[in-house]
C-alpha cells in the first residue's frame, strides 16, 4: 500500500469509485447479507436457542439436530449475532488504538517514533491467536469484553504499522506544514488535517481486520474458549459437534460454511477498497 492517499475533497469520489468496483460490491453485498442474517434470523428461528427438538445427531428438522438434540438450523440462526458484535467491536477497538499509536508515532517522529515502533515490533512477534491464548491462561471463563479486548489488542500493533506508513506520507505534505505554520494545535492538525486524508487506506485495513476478527473470534469458540458455554455461536458449534461430523455433518458444516462465507465477503470488500485506494494515488 502506498503512503499517499486521496485528499479530503476527493473523498466522495473515493466512495463512488468503490461502488463501481465489482469486487468491492460483491464483497459488500455478501457481508451485508450475512450481517442481516445474523441480526434478524433469530426472530424467524423455528426452535429456541436451547430448545431440544429431537434425539442428539438425528435427522429431525431441516439440518438435523446437534450433540444435545438442539435444532441445528435454529442454532445457526441464533449463532451469528455474538460473533458479529464481538468481531465488529474488536475491530473498532484495534483500529482506534492502532491508528492513534501509528499516527502519533509518524507525526512526532524522532526517538518517540523509534521507541514506539520497536515496541510495536515486539508485539508483532506474537501470532494473534497466541496473544489471546496466553492471556486466557490466567482467566477463568472469559467475559465477552475480555475477548473483545484480546482480539482488539492483537490487531492494534498490525494496524499501527500500516497507519504509521500511511501517515508518514501525509505529515510532510504542504497543507500540514501550512497548518503548523498557522500555529494550529497538534491534536487539531492530527484530527482535522491528517486523519481525513487517511480514510481510504484505513477503511481497507479495517475491512481486513474485520476478516481476521471473525476468524479469531470463531477460532476461540472452536478451541472452546467462548464466553457463554450454553449460547449458540458459530465457532463454538464446531467445538460442540466435532464428534458428530461423521454421523450428522450439517451440525458442523452449516456453521463452518457461514463463517467461510462471512470471511470471504469481508475480505473481498477489503481488497476492493484497497484497490480503489491504490488507483486513487496515480
Amino acid at each position: 500500500m502506498s503512503a499517499t492517499s486521496t485528499s479530503s475533497s476527493a473523498a466522495p469520489s473515493f466512495f463512488r469509485r468503490a461502488l463501481k468496483q465489482k469486487r468491492f460490491m460483491f464483497g459488500l453485498t455478501v457481508t451485508v447479507l450475512v450481517m442481516l442474517f445474523a441480526i434478524f434470523a433469530p426472530f424467524f428461528a423455528p426452535y429456541g436457542e436451547n430448545e431440544i427438538s429431537g434425539p442428539p445427531y438425528s435427522k429431525v428438522g431441516v439440518l438435523g439436530t446437534d450433540y444435545l438434540g438442539q435444532d441445528v438450523l435454529s442454532r445457526v440462526m441464533y449463532g451469528g449475532l455474538g460473533i458479529l458484535v464481538i468481531s465488529v467491536l474488536a475491530t473498532v477497538l484495534g483500529m482506534v488504538v492502532g491508528v492513534a499509536v501509528g499516527v502519533i508515532a509518524a507525526y512526532s517522529g524522532g526517538w518517540l517514533d523509534e521507541v514506539i515502533m520497536r515496541l510495536n515490533d515486539v508485539l508483532l512477534a506474537f501470532p494473534q491467536i497466541l496473544l489471546a491464548l496466553v492471556v486466557l491462561t490466567a482467566l477463568q471463563d472469559p467475559a465477552p469484553w475480555a475477548i473483545i479486548i484480546l482480539v482488539g489488542a492483537s490487531h492494534a500493533p498490525r494496524v499501527a504499522r500500516v497507519a504509521r506508513g500511511v501517515a508518514l506520507g501525509i505529515v510532510s505534505r504542504d497543507f500540514v506544514v501550512a497548518a503548523e505554520a498557522l500555529g494550529e494545535r497538534r491534536s487539531r492538525i492530527i484530527l482535522a488535517e491528517v486523519l481525513p486524508n487517511m480514510t481510504g487506506p484505513l477503511l481497507a485495513e479495517a475491512g481486513l481486520r474485520l476478516t481476521y476478527s471473525i476468524g479469531l473470534v470463531a477460532a476461540l469458540g472452536f478451541l472452546g474458549f467462548a464466553s457463554d458455554p450454553g449460547a449458540a455461536n458459530w465457532g463454538q458449534m464446531l467445538n460442540e459437534n466435532r464428534l458428530g461430523l461423521a454421523t450428522q455433518p450439517w451440525s458442523v458444516l452449516a456453521p463452518v460454511i457461514m463463517i467461510g462465507i462471512f470471511t470471504i465477503g469481508t475480505n473481498l470488500m477489503a481488497d476492493g477498497l484497497a484497490q480503489v485506494t491504490q488507483r486513487g494515488d496515480n
Partner: protein, 344 residues
C-alpha cells in the same frame, strides 16, 4: 494489495554503514540485526510472563469453584508458583530457568516441562517443514500461470479464488477438507493423525496429508499473490520490453528476468507466512489431534497450566523471530543493491 501492507522492508531496519571494509560492515549489520532479535525475544519474555501471571489469578483459574473450599490446595499451588515472592524475583528465576534449559514443572502432571515439550517441537517443525516444501513450488507455479495470462480471464479467476481463500480461517478449510476426504463425501484419509506414545505422526503418512494440505491452502494464496505482483511489475518494465523487442522468447523472459526478480519479495513473504504458521498450527493441530506444540498449548491453556503455557509461548515466539531474522539475512544476501549498500 492489502497483503503488501504488512510486508516489512528489511532495509528499513538498519542504515547501511559507510566507509568501512566489506567484512566489518557486514559484521556490524549482522550483529545489530541479531541484537534486535535478542532484544525482541527478551521483551517477549517479559510480556509472556506478565500476561500469564499478572493479568489474572492462575490459582483461582485452576481450582475454579474449589478455590474457596480447598485452602490446602490453594497454598500448595501458590507455593509451586512461588506466589509469595515479588513478581520481579519470580520473573528472574523463571528467566534463569529458561536460559539454563529448565523451564519448570507442569502444574497438570508434575512432570518437567521440557521433557513433555521436546518431542512435540520436532513434530511441529516437521509439519511446518512439509507444508513449506509443498507450498513454495505450488505458490510459484500458480503465480507464473497467473502472470502468464495477466489481466485476462484465467488470471482474474485465479486471483479471485486466491483472494477468497486468503480470508477464510484455516480451521474452516480444515473442517471442509475433513468432511470432503475423510467423513462425508470420500473416505480416503483419516480425520485425525494417529500417534502412539513411542512412534511419530509421520509413521502413518496418510494421516499427515490433511494437516499439511490445510496449512498449504492457508498460506499459498498470500505467497502466490505477492509473487505474481512482483512478476507483473517486472514483466511491465521497460527493460523487459526491450528484451522482448530483441526477440527473446517469452518463457526465457519469464525465467531469467521476471522470476529472478521475484525471489527477494518471495523470501520476505515466505518468511512471514512460515512465521504465521507458528500460530496457524495451533488450530490445525487441534483439529487433527496432531501431537505438536500447538495442540499442547491449547490443552495447557485449558488446564491453566502456567509453566507449560509460558514455555510453549516462548518457543512459538522464538520461532517467529528466528524465521524473520533468517528471511532478512537471506534477502540482503540475494539483493545486489543492498549487498553493495552495506559493504560499499
Amino acid at each position: 494489495m492489502t497483503q503488501v501492507a504488512t510486508l516489512q522492508d528489511p532495509f528499513e531496519e538498519v542504515a547501511p554503514p559507510r566507509g568501512r571494509s566489506g567484512g566489518a560492515a557486514w559484521a556490524v549489520w549482522l550483529s545489530r540485526r541479531i541484537g534486535l532479535a535478542v532484544l525482541s525475544l527478551w521483551l517477549v519474555s517479559v510480556l509472556v510472563f506478565l500476561a500469564t501471571v499478572a493479568l489474572g489469578d492462575p490459582v483461582r483459574a485452576i481450582l475454579g469453584r474449589d478455590y474457596n473450599s480447598n485452602p490446602g490446595r490453594v497454598a500448595q499451588l501458590e507455593a509451586q508458583l512461588n506466589a509469595d515472592q515479588g513478581i520481579v524475583s519470580r520473573y528472574f528465576s523463571w528467566l534463569g530457568g529458561l536460559l539454563t534449559g529448565d523451564p519448570g514443572t507442569s502444574l497438570a502432571n508434575q512432570q518437567p516441562v521440557w521433557g513433555q515439550i521436546s518431542a512435540n517441537v520436532v513434530n511441529t517443525l516437521v509439519l511446518v517443514f512439509l507444508s513449506a516444501i509443498v507450498m513454495i513450488p505450488l505458490a510459484f507455479g500458480i503465480a507464473m500461470i497467473s502472470a502468464h495470462y495477466r489481466r485476462r480471464r484465467p488470471d482474474t479467476v485465479i486471483q479471485t479464488v486466491l483472494l477468497a481463500l486468503a480470508g477464510v480461517p484455516e480451521f474452516v478449510i480444515g473442517i471442509l477438507l475433513v468432511a470432503t476426504f475423510s467423513t462425508t463425501v470420500f473416505h480416503i484419509f483419516p480425520a485425525v493423525t494417529i500417534a502412539t506414545p513411542t512412534g511419530h505422526p509421520w509413521d502413518t503418512p496418510k494421516g499427515m496429508v490433511l494437516p499439511v494440505l490445510t496449512l498449504v491452502i492457508a498460506v499459498t494464496p498470500y505467497v502466490s499473490r505477492i509473487v505474481r505482483a512482483t512478476l507483473l511489475e517486472v514483466l511491465d518494465s521497460d527493460y523487459v520490453e526491450l528484451a522482448r523487442l530483441k526477440g527473446i522468447p517469452e518463457p526465457v523472459v519469464m525465467r531469467k528476468h521476471a522470476l529472478l526478480n521475484a525471489i527477494v519479495p518471495a523470501i520476505q513473504v515466505i518468511g512471514l507466512q512460515l512465521a504465521w504458521l507458528a500460530g496457524g498450527v495451533v488450530l490445525v493441530e487441534t483439529l487433527f489431534a496432531y501431537p505438536g506444540v500447538g495442540r499442547q498449548l491449547v490443552d495447557s491453556v485449558r488446564n491453566h497450566d502456567v509453566p507449560m503455557v509460558q514455555a510453549l509461548a516462548m518457543i512459538i515466539a522464538a520461532f517467529y523471530i528466528v524465521v524473520n531474522l533468517v528471511a532478512d539475512i537471506l534477502s540482503i544476501l540475494m539483493t545486489p543493491r543492498a549487498r553493495t549498500a552495506i559493504s560499499g
